[in-house]
């Protein structure tokens, strides 16, 4: 319950930051809406129409009121409601994020377990080097390199766009590349910790098969911290998608945002900042709740 309240405060804070964002923009927002030869009377009228003549606090509450009604404003570059634009783009980013997360876990679970079970061997070194490279790889660079090799040179996959699963593969690899390093490392240290516990020794002594020990006994305990990490990574997909969607022309939130930035569409930039923050905050709350369901030892304070 306290955690939900905390999330509420965070959500409130995000609206403040989104509001500030538009306020710090240099230049008069009303002037931006008018042609360059507009008269002073027109400017004043526009300011009044946009509510800019009101005190800041009133402006903020007007903004908040609109938000609560689901009204995020109007995008002048797309000539559409921001809400409609975001609603169309979100599922695409979600698909990309989930595909990337799936790939990341597909790689990091075996890799992390192998590194822990064969600790100190070449396997372990290999896994840790792979994680380190993943951590150091810029998405920008990886994405362009993937396009160069698999789309341009080999011609196996399309360079960009959306459609069938073949369009999803390269961007999903890029999303996964941002995440697998951390999950591999977490899983490795979690497994090493779990394997050192007494109950594992007891299970070994009882003659429980090795694989069963690894999966059933150790993995179960190592997976808990992983839940938190994966949860926050899903939130971070939004940030990563900015570059990935731009390179692969994937019509999600990231592409919407990079277009909004390029055309300085303030309303759209503001709303995407807001939505990303909201999604991330709510996801974190959800992950915390999930964590308590998985781990009965923690009471949901």
């Amino acid at each position: 319950m306290r955690r939900a309240l905390q999330t509420l405060i965070v959500l409130f804070g995000i609206t403040v930051i989104a509001f500030i964002l538009v306020r710090v923009a240099p230049g008069n927002p009303a002037a931006l809406m008018l042609p360059a030869d507009a008269t002073d009377e027109q400017l004043v009228a526009m300011e009044a129409f946009m509510g800019l003549d009101q005190p800041l606090i009133v402006q903020y509450f007007t903004y908040l009121g609109n938000l609560l009604q689901g009204n995020l404003g109007y995008s002048f570059t797309y000539r559409q409601d921001v809400t409609t634009l975001i609603a169309a783009a979100l599922p695409m980013t979600a698909i990309l994020g989930l595909a990337g997360m799936f790939l990341s876990l597909l790689v990091s679970i075996p890799l992390g377990m192998l590194a822990a079970v064969r600790r100190g061997t070449a396997w372990d070194t290999f896994a840790m080097i792979a994680a380190l490279i993943g951590q150091s790889m810029s998405t920008v660079w990886l994405a362009v390199a993937l396009v160069l090799v698999f789309a341009v040179q080999l011609g196996w996959l399309p360079t960009s766009g959306s459609g069938g699963i073949e369009y999803l593969i390269l961007p999903a690899i890029c999303v996964a590349s941002q995440d697998y390093a951390l999950t591999t490392r977490m899983l490795r240290s979690g497994m090493i910790g779990a394997l050192g516990q007494d109950y594992i020794m007891a299970a070994r002594a009882r003659g429980v098969p090795k694989l069963r020990i690894y999966w059933h006994y150790a993995f179960k305990n190592a997976v808990l911290p992983l839940v938190t990490v994966v949860g926050s990574q899903i939130g971070m997909v939004l940030a990563g998608s900015l570059i990935i969607e731009r390179i692969f022309n994937w019509p999600g939130i990231g592409l919407l945002m990079s277009n909004a930035i390029a055309s300085r569409d303030l309303q759209l930039i503001q709303s995407i900042l807001l939505i990303s923050g909201f999604i991330y905050a709510v996801l974190n709350l959800f992950v915390d709740a999930l964590y308590t369901v998985l781990d009965k030892r923690i009471a949901f304070a």
Partner: protein
């Protein structure tokens, strides 16, 4: 208990001669630290010496010299070692000068973010109460917004420039430091030697800087060293999206963005800054892991 009490200084619990030589031993025996430190040193040195290494102006090209393939060292350093880009500019000199800017930005941002984080963290942890509540709510809000998105939004609104990139990144990267400093301050505040210092009449500011700060320094240094790589990647992502240092000043992200269209015919334009970025981040990440090995008493491996 056997505690060596150095004369005159009430606190300084760890700074004995023996501890220093132990740290020195750890540094030289940590492979990660040595590799990372050497790598960072070499990269920084090459970037700083760029004006004396390369024969070309990184911002001046010529139409006759467009898209020349790498000549490697066939003409020594006088030729286009890594080829030229779409505007006929020398790629090697752009990579090196771009590296100067990237390193400068990353270091300034990390130091700036660290100072803000230390100040706010100390205030929150030492004074508690309302100051603590406000600072920690701001931290919560900042933590729930992906850094790249916030930084991009604000740079997009304020306009891309060298100063704006640094200011915005520093203002988004102090959060973790503040949290750690606050936690450590809380832990240190209730110890005996702080009580002793207080009895000896040390005031709030003096207490925070002289007595508490040295004890929270190791975790901050670990975090700062690990953050440099992250900032390098963020900055590259921003300049890739056109929200970093404005053209024609070279930046690794900007070079990748510009060369993307020529990837099939002139891949060196993209590969050179991509590799540079990866090596630089790798070196800083190794150094970061090394610093953790050296300073974190819990890490034994």
């Amino acid at each position: 208990m056997n505690i060596a009490v150095p004369p005159r200084t009430a606190a300084a619990p760890v700074q004995t001669g023996r501890a220093f030589s132990a740290v020195r031993h750890k540094i030289t025996s940590s492979k990660l630290f040595m590799i990372g430190a050497v790598g960072v040193f070499v990269i920084a040195l090459i970037c700083l010496l760029a004006p004396w290494i390369v024969a070309f102006d990184p911002e001046q090209g010529g139409l006759q010299s467009r898209l020349l393939p790498p000549q490697w060292f066939s003409e020594g350093l006088g030729g286009h070692v890594l080829g030229t880009d779409q505007l006929g500019r020398d790629v090697l000199s752009r990579v090196l000068v771009g590296g100067q800017y990237s390193l400068m930005i990353a270091l300034t941002v990390v130091v700036g973010g660290m100072l803000i984080g230390i100040a706010l963290g100390l205030i929150a942890g030492y004074f508690g109460g309302i100051a603590d509540a406000i600072i920690m709510r701001v931290v919560d809000v900042m933590m729930s917004l992906p850094t790249l998105i916030v930084a991009l939004c604000f740079v997009a609104v304020l306009g891309p420039s060298f100063q704006n990139v640094i200011i915005v990144l520093a203002l988004t990267s102090w959060v973790l430091t503040a949290r750690v400093v606050r936690g450590s301050t809380l832990a240190v505040r209730s110890t005996d030697y702080i009580a002793a210092a207080r009895v000896m009449g040390a005031g709030g500011g003096r207490m925070m800087i002289r007595e508490i700060l040295p004890n929270v320094l190791p975790p901050i240094l670990i975090m700062a060293s690990q953050q440099i790589g992250v900032i390098l990647l963020t900055e590259a992502g921003m300049s890739f999206l056109g929200m970093g240092i404005p053209a024609p000043t070279p930046s690794w992200g900007g070079m990748i963005a510009g060369g993307q269209a020529y990837i099939a015919t002139a891949p060196w334009i993209v590969v050179a800054p991509g590799m540079a970025l990866m090596l630089a981040v790798l070196a800083f990440n190794l150094l970061g892991d090394g610093v953790r090995d050296v300073l974190d008493p819990r890490s034994t491996n």
